[in-house]
């Protein structure tokens, strides 16, 4: 009893970890499943087939390709635009600055269903009803990722000591050198974080995408579509890959930071 009391925090922590990781463990487990039928959600036998043959359903891989392409383009677009907007909001005093700071929060606060349907109305009203597809999805994704990029980069920029750039200029760095040698490297972690966030938001989005997709199918839409007839186990392979990839990125960054902090002398 005493042992339980002494280790209560540890036990609770472990319980929370289990609670968080059980669903992910199921995804990983199911990626090795050999089901007896498509409609049975039970582990019927171990196989590597799903991993060796992830594109068994060609629709899955084409949907995945669409999602990756939209994710990459939406990330690039929103990261560039959002970073520029963040610099403007932090560094320059202009009319409507505080209003812009407030408005940037709106897309994050608006329910996605509302956002998606309004956007659809806008596209239709603009005569794009027949053009719904890859590009309208991309426009929608850049739009909602933008706010997250601005907020992330702005926080990083606002936390930076003004004296650093002044010190660079004092040490003979021209404005361009000051930006590339001091400002940019210091803001870069914020920009990278914003880019990662954008990609996962875009890759994961279903509601806004579904309303503005026309005939294009993204990965979440594919999964939603096939759920009615039984999800192919390859979906779990993709899920596991995504999970492993993001864990690898986080561990990689952490290892790099740790190595930098090792005292030399």
């Amino acid at each position: 009893m005493r042992w339980v009391r002494d280790n209560l925090v540890l036990l609770l922590g472990l319980a929370v970890l289990v609670y968080t990781f059980v669903p992910i463990a199921v995804v990983v487990l199911m990626s090795f499943n050999a089901p007896d039928s498509r409609l049975v959600y039970s582990f019927d036998g171990f196989t590597l087939d799903n991993w060796l043959n992830p594109c068994a359903d060609p629709d899955l891989c084409s949907a995945l390709g669409v999602s990756i392409r939209i994710g990459a383009l939406a990330t690039a677009g929103s990261t560039v635009l959002g970073t520029l907007a963040a610099f403007a909001l932090v560094r320059h005093r202009f009319r409507g600055r505080s209003a812009s700071n407030l408005l940037i929060f709106l897309p994050m606060a608006t329910p996605e269903v509302v956002l998606g349907s309004s956007l659809l109305a806008l596209f239709v009203a603009s005569g794009l009803a027949g053009q719904l597809g890859f590009w309208t999805i991309l426009i929608a994704h850049v739009m909602f990722c933008l706010s997250f990029v601005v907020v992330t980069v702005r926080a990083r920029l606002a936390g930076m000591d003004d004296a650093l750039e002044q010190a660079a200029m004092d040490l003979y760095a021209t404005p361009a050198q000051t930006f590339w040698r001091v400002t940019f490297p210091l803001v870069l972690p914020g920009i990278l974080a914003a880019a990662l966030l954008s990609f996962s938001l875009s890759f994961d989005d279903f509601i806004v995408t579904n309303l503005n997709s026309g005939n294009t199918t993204t990965f979440p839409m594919y999964v939603w579509g096939v759920a009615r007839v039984g999800i192919p186990m390859q979906v779990n392979v993709i899920g596991t890959l995504m999970f492993v990839l993001s864990i690898a990125v986080v561990i990689g960054v952490e290892v790099r930071n740790r190595r930098r902090q090792v005292p030399v002398a």
């Binding site: 004296a163 010190a167 004092d170 040490l171 003979y172 021209t174």
Partner: protein, 395 residues
């Protein structure tokens, strides 16, 4: 660099520096410098001549305009009007990265993504100087940080970061090195040892240092010339001992150390002596220590210059003797005893008596006489606020 050398030669050829307003001057010269932020004037028509190779301190309370002045010299702030010339060249509107001036920032402003050696090399690399590695090594040796070269600033202590900031500025051998309260973030003990360290480095490299501080003790310890600033103007400028011994305003008298200021009326002005009636007691002040033309003024005397004795005792201070004091407070601080003495006119004067052992300690309530040598007294203008500069925060 050769351009600067030429000017140095030109300055020598044309005779002594600082001769006349328009003459060539090889130091830092500030003329009628003014900086306003909206309706607030931070610096008001400031004139300063800072000789090459000197350790100059701008001393004043916060908000007196000293940091603004420094930032204008660095080029980080644009003056509203006035000029700044350095070694004969007008740099008033020159971009900060084109001035032969470097700054040690109050927050140090070390680049967190670069290691110590890269921080120190930053200025040299921007100017595409050769042989950076050897210079960085020599500079790190000067500030005793050779072993820390590949550490990041965040891994260093406050004192070490301070020395990196100093090395990063010094390595460029600027015409003028600006120090903006560089020791403000350090604790008292470290600050005292860094003061000696910075002074040693300045003597070693022989560059012009302009040091901004609100700590009068720091200014007096380190600088050869101190300019006391208040409300955007320089109140008085000179060697630390000169400022301390012969202050020209109540602000300087109170901000640098402590002073007893006693109201008086001028009775006679002779060629070398001014006689003042101080609540019925006649005292004299040497003419060169009188800083008012009026017939009223503040007689000033430093607490350690006041001698204290029993009533009727013989004191080594012919001239100014003030009877009728009563001791109201005694604090023994080791090297000295500090008395508060209430005078017949109600004012309490401070007296610091060295504990030489030749005199007994006086007790609370005892009757005493005060006295001081006339050559230590000074006379200030009656229109000045008697308490100006007295409520400074000792930091």
């Amino acid at each position: 660099m050769s351009r600067l050398a030429e000017q140095e030669v030109a300055g020598d050829a044309l005779g002594a520096p600082a001769s006349g307003e328009e003459g060539p001057y090889d130091g830092l010269r500030i003329r009628a410098l003014t900086k306003s932020f909206g309706s607030y004037t931070a610096v008001r028509s400031l004139d300063l001549d800072i000789p090459r190779g000197s350790f100059f301190a701008l001393l004043g309370p916060s908000g007196c305009g000293k940091t603004t002045t420094l930032r204008m010299v660095a080029g980080l702030e644009q003056p509203t009007s006035g000029t700044i010339t350095l070694a004969g060249e007008d740099i008033t509107r020159t971009k900060p990265y084109r001035r032969p001036v470097n700054t040690v920032f109050q927050s140090y402003a070390l680049f967190p993504h670069l290691d110590v050696a890269e921080n120190v090399a930053f200025g040299l690399k921007r100017r595409k100087v050769k042989d950076v590695a050897a210079q960085v090594e020599a500079m790190l040796a000067l500030v005793e940080l050779e072993t820390q070269a590949s550490k990041k600033p965040a891994q260093l202590s406050g004192g070490q970061q301070q020395r990196v900031a100093l090395a990063r500025a010094l390595i460029n051998r600027p015409e003028v090195l600006l120090l903006d309260e560089p020791l403000g973030a350090l604790d008292l003990k470290l600050r005292r040892s860094m003061q000696i360290e910075v002074k040693r480095i300045q003597t070693e490299v022989g560059l012009t240092f302009v040091h901004v501080t609100h700590d009068q003790e720091e200014a007096m310890t380190m600088a050869d010339t101190v300019a006391v600033m208040n409300g955007g103007v320089v109140e008085q400028m000179g060697a630390p001992s000169e400022l301390y011994e012969n202050p020209r305003s109540t602000f300087v008298a109170n901000f640098l150390g402590q002073s007893n200021l006693i109201e008086g009326t001028v009775r006679r002005r002779d060629a070398d002596l001014v006689t003042v009636d101080m609540h019925g007691v006649t005292v004299s002040v040497p003419a060169h220590r009188v800083h008012t033309d009026g017939d009223r003024g503040w007689v000033g005397i430093r607490p350690e210059k006041v001698l204290i004795g029993e009533v009727g005792a013989e004191l080594d201070a012919p001239g100014n003797t003030v009877p009728g004091g009563v001791i109201t407070d005694v604090s023994f601080v080791g090297v000295s005893t500090q008395y508060l003495v209430r005078m017949p006119w109600g004012q309490e004067l401070q007296v610091f008596a060295q504990n030489t052992g030749r005199q007994r300690m006086f007790a609370h309530g005892e009757q005493v006489e005060l006295s001081w040598r006339p050559e230590y007294a000074f006379l200030l203008d009656a229109s000045q606020d008697v308490a100006a500069g007295a409520d400074r925060v000792v930091g």
